[in-house]
Point group: D3
Chain length 297, copies 6
């Protein structure tokens, strides 16, 4: 190496002593993102075995193979939970043995919830099929629809969030966000038969509550009114409550701790910050009268 190159290297090494927030050289535990992503692949095999069969070659009998897949996923989940728990101050003082114990219980609870999660996903699949005339069959939805993919990851991440596991739920939901453009916070509460179409740009905030049979189109925001409060708002309700059988069309925003009643329809690009009673249709007034149309000649 040339002297000048070596100086550049040394300057970077020295820079790690600078007292910055990002100046970590070692972390005792760390929930590796790639490991979370492969756990998600394993969980897809657990949930939808016929569609995502295990790559493993130890058994041809599908039930035996599924059993091995489930056990493998349980072990990996437990290890990831062990690596994630110390990120939370509550666990920082625990001994490794206690953390391992805790991680085992959390993992078992998570896997006990899988049948419930599968039952919910079954309703979601049917809702998408009913709602999208372009859907040719259910297999296509399961294998190719970003909405179903994002909902699946949300439902898994939400279970972990309920079990108060740090880091992992957010890494999972950001995986879905990255793959689909759909950003559902794992803290949100979402009922059965949830339908998302296209999905890019959808935001569902942390304290949002969504009822049964809700449909969201691309670009819908269920967000907070203002985040100027920053960390002082932590844990406070600041996102909407959406009733059952509500449809929200593309680009609409519902902001703040408002309630949209059951059976409402919210039109494209509508911007709402107040409560809407049940069975109401809200659209932009004279949306097209507002246009200026000029002949180019």
């Amino acid at each position: 190496m040339q002297r000048s190159d070596r100086q550049a290297v040394d300057a970077i090494l020295n820079d790690y002593a600078g007292g910055r927030l990002i100046d970590r050289m070692e972390m005792p535990h760390r929930p590796d993102k790639e490991s979370v992503y492969s756990l998600l692949e394993e969980l897809f095999s657990v949930l939808f075995y016929g569609y995502y069969p295990s790559k493993a070659r130890l058994a041809d009998d599908p039930t035996d193979a599924l059993r091995m897949v489930v056990e493998e996923a349980m072990l990996h989940m437990r290890h990831l939970v062990m690596s994630a728990l110390p990120c939370d101050a509550r666990y920082a003082a625990m001994s490794t043995a206690e953390i391992a114990e805790e991680a085992g219980e959390i993992t078992e609870a998570f896997f006990r919830s899988i049948p419930r999660v599968r039952a919910l996903l079954d309703t979601d699949l049917q809702a998408i099929f009913n709602g999208d005339p372009a859907a040719e069959n259910r297999d296509e939805i399961l294998l190719a629809y970003p909405g179903f993919y994002a909902i699946t990851i949300y439902r898994l991440a939400h279970e972990l969030q309920m079990l108060q596991v740090p880091m992992l739920p957010r890494i999972m939901s950001e995986r879905a966000h990255s793959q689909t453009g759909i950003d559902i916070h794992p803290g949100a509460t979402i009922g059965p038969s949830f339908f998302i179409d296209h999905g890019t740009g959808i935001v569902v905030g942390e304290t949002t509550v969504i009822g049964e049979g809700v449909k969201l189109y691309q670009g819908v925001t269920l967000g907070a009114l203002s985040t100027r409060g920053g960390q002082s708002l932590r844990g406070k309700r600041r996102h909407p409550t959406i009733g059952s059988s509500v449809t929200i069309y593309a680009g609409a925003s519902v902001l703040g701790d408002t309630t949209i009643g059951d059976g409402c329809t919210i039109g494209s690009n509508v911007f709402i910050t107040r409560d809407i009673p049940a069975d109401t249709t809200v659209t932009m007034q004279d949306q097209e009268l507002n246009l200026r149309i000029r002949d180019r000649h």
Copy 2:
């Protein structure tokens, strides 16, 4: 394994007998997503050999190498088509030999269309270069522009859609959607010299028809008015027809079976559900007069 862990595993295995839509343990055929993604990589080598040269090391002469790449892609396409055809009820009763025969013919037809697809992509490349002042040269567009990537995949998926192959076109278009945020249904019909800029959030619906020389910016929706009809709308025209030389700026929506005439310009955020005659410019009326501007003091 502890007893309680084993119970969790058994509960999941039992849950597969629950009669759910998602309860498949085996599918005789299944178009594996990863295989479709690697076929797409092979097809990029087929289309743009100099830019995506084969990784194979069997030949240094580029023509020989390209020949091998094409043959490899043909075989993989045929196998994927074989795995996909039984997903369609029309093929479910066919013998394996008949499906193999059919898959061979479809694959041959697909590859015969490649020169035509390359000719179209050539016009798309030129259109992007002409339209984007930030484009430094054509190579940059080919290697780095999400719009060009999404259009390429659309043009490939559309050919398969025309050949009535199930599943594969949608898996391909969702690949592009996931990578770029651009969601073009493979059933849409799009003319030459198509230009997409930025692209995130664009939706082009199944029965959309787009002319020559059209430009779309990020967040544009060419969608359906309402999907309340669900599966009853299947196959019906429900998306717009866009003429030639039309530009549609960011965030605009054109919904339903409307027609935008040749040469129109549709401004940002415009929302249209009716026909617009040729050579018309449509913008939001007094878009900025509408603002409320307050000094903070």
Copy 3:
């Protein structure tokens, strides 16, 4: 192969002689995208070693390991720069030795900027933590927030852009765009403490200038007014200047060579094409009065 298959293959090979823009069989150099992506992974290890430790197993001492990571990244950067420079007409006539020399100098300059980049990223991390009540701790932001990921890649790509390296900055920024839906042109100028939330659909154009402590939400466009001029606009200022401590809420657009003064707040969906003085709040007028609300009964 059947005769008809062989004809399809030959037709594709012949098609490469057709004089198209895309008809390249060989490129002497070419900045391979996968190589850029792995360089980005190495640069994340350089910037945030504790969070993205090297996979290499040659040293357990983190400082030694980091040194190896930095040197490896320098070599790969130099090779990528060597492969990219000839894409620019200015370098096309240079000898290989001269290009290698130039690539060495550019690489050294890039790595000398790393401490400065790390200092900026430190401010960005703090800004996100302060601004997002859902952020549980700084590690979560570093490992899982798409905004921080996109800003990091922007800051790296921007340094390369300043060093006038062709192709690489754009491939990097499109990587971030693909992963996050956030499209920041590497030519943009962005001050410290930059905060992006959710981010999907954000566009920041090539000649944009952004001050210190700015917050952007999903779907914000800082773009050009019209690109009808195409390549004739190349290099001209056509994007906004955003002052310090400005917040721009979801879906807002600021277009053209306008200036938003320090301390402004721009509301959701606002569309601005003119200058806004400092300390001004701009929102949609009577945004909700504009709604048409119908009871469904």
Copy 4:
């Protein structure tokens, strides 16, 4: 595909109906070789953590990381044992649940033996260091000596053989054979402080018994006299017993159910089929008198 190619394919498919021994299209379980090889890698991490640290990134603390490695290896071992047991007629009739139970007990027993195996390997390492003047330090032996590698795999495979697991021990010992040319049957019994130098061509048969502190050089055979009896000899003692502190030089053969007493030295190329009393040196008589030496002129 051409007709003639298709005929070749069909002929192969038809050939599977031919009633051959090798005509299996499906095996319900199957101990996949690649999985055994990766289990071996995991077991090397379990045995020698500092030398073969886990690739996993979930923990930096070596004890935590080792714990995860051990648990991962236990799960994989259990699954491999589950896949292997049905290869033995004794298990063919068991239910899956019984096999899983049995596999769990075998796996636990195997891992309980690990400290004992490590104690034996410690003596082997010391023996090699003492015996080989070319050995620079113990780390070199642990990382690079084929003899130590083969002995390690033998000791692991032998434990599984003692637990009567079918298939896995042999796949493991053939792995060592392939990597080193040293073929030790997992059924052999070998005492502590075992030393192998160079090793290529060594054969140690199934019913061989070897004492403490034995040294073997390349090409040594401890084999059976004749195998004409074939399967009728199964399980019968047909290989030598080697006492403690015996050295056997390159190319020597000891065949049949003979005994070499403690402290013997067996010279190069010696061929022995009878008992040798303790403390005896056996060499070829006048090995060099036997040569015919001609000047070439």
Copy 5:
């Protein structure tokens, strides 16, 4: 880079102009070794599908999956043959189209031979099971015995050798040599029911002919008497002919164009350069009388 490093690099680049035999910078075709190794894996799936099932996920039905595996292997074989043919002077002048044609015919002929090869391997498997008392069942032989592995590769490589394909047969046989220590030249002719035990160090030369039911143990050489003639001996018979039902024990050598009659047994370490009539047993005379036995005291 430092100047002195750069000089070292330049010296290497310059060295390629030195007119050496090894000074190739480009080869138009080249049968890549890794590709041959993966073809071998595919051929093992073709031969023994139940034991080496395809990793592909496109079909669960084993016959469909096997068909895809065979077709994939045929394509890869054809491409490898295309890359290998120009290595032979006879093909150097052919056009690419002619070589492709030739490669297609060779490949088809090779795959037509597969049922015959499978029939031979079936006899080999039975012979090993009959001959080795340590063999627990046939599956173990198929999955773990180096002798069966080497014979399988020999039988495949021999077919290609008969079809006069350059390079590939030797790369295949060296693969087996590397994995097992068994070096069988693909030009050798070997009858059914061939049995190899342990195998390390076995050499079977190019013009060797072996009858039916022959057994070879480790370290057996069937070689040439002297190779002083070098290239002048090319193609001449210079290796032994071994009759049927011959057993040759460990370390024996049979050299030159000699004949060992049917039913012979050749003892350990025997060295033979002349013909042996049928049904003869040849052993070392007084092999053990020759030993010098000393008490160490």
Copy 6:
């Protein structure tokens, strides 16, 4: 996990505190074997670029690509040397900076020797071609002959041994040993035009000296007489000196600090422990008279 499984895990963790030689939990540096293997692949590209072209895609021009390959190999070599040096007591006390400096100098010296190594390998290639009538052309030798592969690795490892780098030379030579069964100690001194045929079982000891134009066949040992002295013999001459133009046939052993004069021929299975004058042929006396030949009837 069940309690008993957990106990097994804990027992293993506790076992690491047992004060064994193998009880390392952490090593500050460690020359990772996989990294050495990939360095060897890079060095094969450096030595024989046309045969082992780089997989990298950054440049199509072979000289540019080779330059990048050489630089990449230099960096990896330097890092491996840095990780290996502290294994030697002489370096244990050095600072990291000093070790880095030293590693840089060693690496540069190694790469300066490459042209000399290539010149030697050129003579080896020619010698093999001249000596083996089965060799069809030089490309086959370069791509498929284990003898040439082992000699290449020996010549590389020997340079590192001369530069007194610990660990790496031995890991390299064991790689060749594992792949070919040829075990050449990197400390041996071997002249040009070295020819190895078949090779399995060859052993060439640490202090062996071999002249020009020597041929070795499978199973030849050039070894020490006795290693009873163990570590006390370290560094002492204990292996043979082989003159030029010597041929040693299969299975022969030359042991101890003896000298075989120029032009000698040593026959199969000969065992020599004393000096042989130049131009002598040594064979087993009446090797075949010694046989006992019995008719089986």
